[in-house]
Symmetry: C3
Subunit: 246 residues, 3 copies
């Protein structure tokens, strides 16, 4: 059983995050929260999202699973203004999700979750942690787009740097220590990542003013941020591209 | 003889409506009003538009016909701001329309109206009549676009409903009786229509806050609304798609 | 040696003007100003731009040349808001331009200027001179776009007229004498120009409210306007298209 009401703004945050990696996802509905864990088809990135029941205007659920097509959710979002409430209820007999926005009701077929396993989130011991303004990431991505398909994320006791190296030009976006909300980096670390994945993850951050990054050397990056005004959390994990020594 | 001045906003309403169905149209100019009657090339829909002389800033005309290319009128509209006045005069010797916007004058060849007959508007006895907010139609169309190429318009003593049925999903947009400005429907009626035509007609409504619909079962729908702040009127007629019984 | 700081707005004016005609340009850096002279690949048009050192927030330079890729400058501009300051310094050892916007630094390879000669600006004795509002040019271009690939610029003691002749339609945009800030035209002159070049030149005028035009009969047009709030100047020269006598 699942019945819930949620502001369009909150649903949009969830849909933006999940659709960054997958077209369809299994939403694990629980008594106190909904969680989504998914790996992209190329197995390069993972998302682990939690939305507390407090993020909803109304919430009533037993344990269950809903297989959701993200494009259909985007169609629903186009029907609602940001502050408008969207109502959901699970029609278990027909395995459909009944979604209501204002005077409009859509009865939506759910996706079969049989083939959707819950990916295991690996436990990583990443030596550097930092909290950076989301705007800094956006600016660095914009500057790197014309340079290379990859960016290096670097942390050191001095600050956080995003570097992009091209054939003729290179770009460095340096956020010094005093512009970071938090910095733990005893030694210098550096990992290289595909720009498109990193860019899409950062574009999925709609409201969080800051992001927590966990970094190592030639290790995945963990990107954590809040959604739903703090009543939900997202953890992205992105695999590094190992740099070949020339 | 025809000379007139009209606000760009008013001309835009006329052009939006007529160009929904045809690329070229015969404008019947009279002493007290201009009328346009046209059928789309596929003979699925008809428009019957009247613009009173009171909708013009200045108006002087004998009986006559002007064959107008709608794309050229859209080019004229791009030269004028909404509240700006556009002047027209018919150069009968060269059969050209002389159009002035600010310091710009365009001498525009008219289209030969010889092959353009005035379609007869059929007299229909449609059992249901209702007045609905234009926004409700827009929202219902938006919700139906991803579901099917057709929508059913339904009226009953309870209200007005727009329904779209797809292979896996369906959408219902229900406007209950108390949200309608007027409802006359002794029995339930239902007709199916091509979504693209209905959508384009509704998109052509730029200013009217409400629309009057006349409906039957497997009958055309008549869509009436005001233009030019009430100094003009549009009647669209759209043929139904007869549903095959499975 | 070259080091400078400039507002993004000012840099944008320069880039818009120069990139109208060429993808790469030689910037001649001097003690008191930067100049760019360039001819488009088809040898139809020329630009002669001067930006005074007063247009910069800071400026320090010896005589020198910088070969600049205009697309890279547009990428830099996308990183800065209008009022934001962009810093440049020339790394002479590596022949790179080091560009800083906020926390972002781009090290940009310069283009080899060996093959870039300074075009000679021809001295023309054009009989008509007029000062017209840029908006009048924009409106005339908009009106001509659907008519023909060419426009005629005409001046006479009565005023300035832009004319476009098509197969079925024609457009005249007439700016009478009293709407011109200045008019010197003892006799009537008229020259025909390619619309796309003239349109692109006028689109490159972002801030100047008026433009000075110098015109003759079947002669080039000279288009002069200010940039950087008067601390820079642009002269465009556009070759006429000689009209064949039918």
């Amino acid at each position: 059983m699942f019945e819930g009401k949620v502001k369009a703004d909150v649903l949009k945050e969830v849909v933006d995050v999940v659709s960054t990696l997958v077209d369809e996802a299994k939403f694990n509905v629980g008594k106190d929260s909904i969680t989504v864990k998914a790996v992209d088809p190329a197995h390069v990135a993972m998302v682990d999202l939690t939305l507390d029941r407090g993020a909803f205007e109304a919430y009533k659920a037993d344990e269950g699973e809903l297989g959701v097509d993200m494009d259909k959710m985007k169609e629903i979002l186009r029907l609602a203004k940001g502050g408008e409430t969207i109502s959901f209820s699970h029609d278990e007999d027909k395995n459909r999700l009944v979604v209501t926005v204002g005077n409009t009701t859509r009865r939506m077929a759910l996706v079969d979750t049989a083939g959707m396993s819950d990916p295991k989130v690996p436990s990583l011991n990443l030596p550097a942690k930092l909290v950076v303004r989301t705007d800094e990431l956006r600016q660095a991505i914009r500057a790197s787009e014309s340079i290379s398909d990859h960016i290096a994320l670097k942390a050191s006791p001095d600050g956080f740097e995003i570097v992009s190296e091209g054939d003729t030009d290179n770009v460095s976006h340096m956020v010094p220590k005093d512009l970071l909300e938090e910095l733990q980096s005893k030694e210098a670390v550096r990992s290289l990542f595909p720009l498109d994945y990193f860019s899409n993850m950062v574009k999925a951050i709609s409201s969080a003013p800051t992001v927590t990054l966990y970094l190592g050397s030639d290790y995945p990056v963990k990107i954590e941020f809040k959604i739903a005004g703090g009543k939900g959390e997202v953890k992205f994990l992105l695999a590094p591209r190992i740099e070949s020594e020339g």
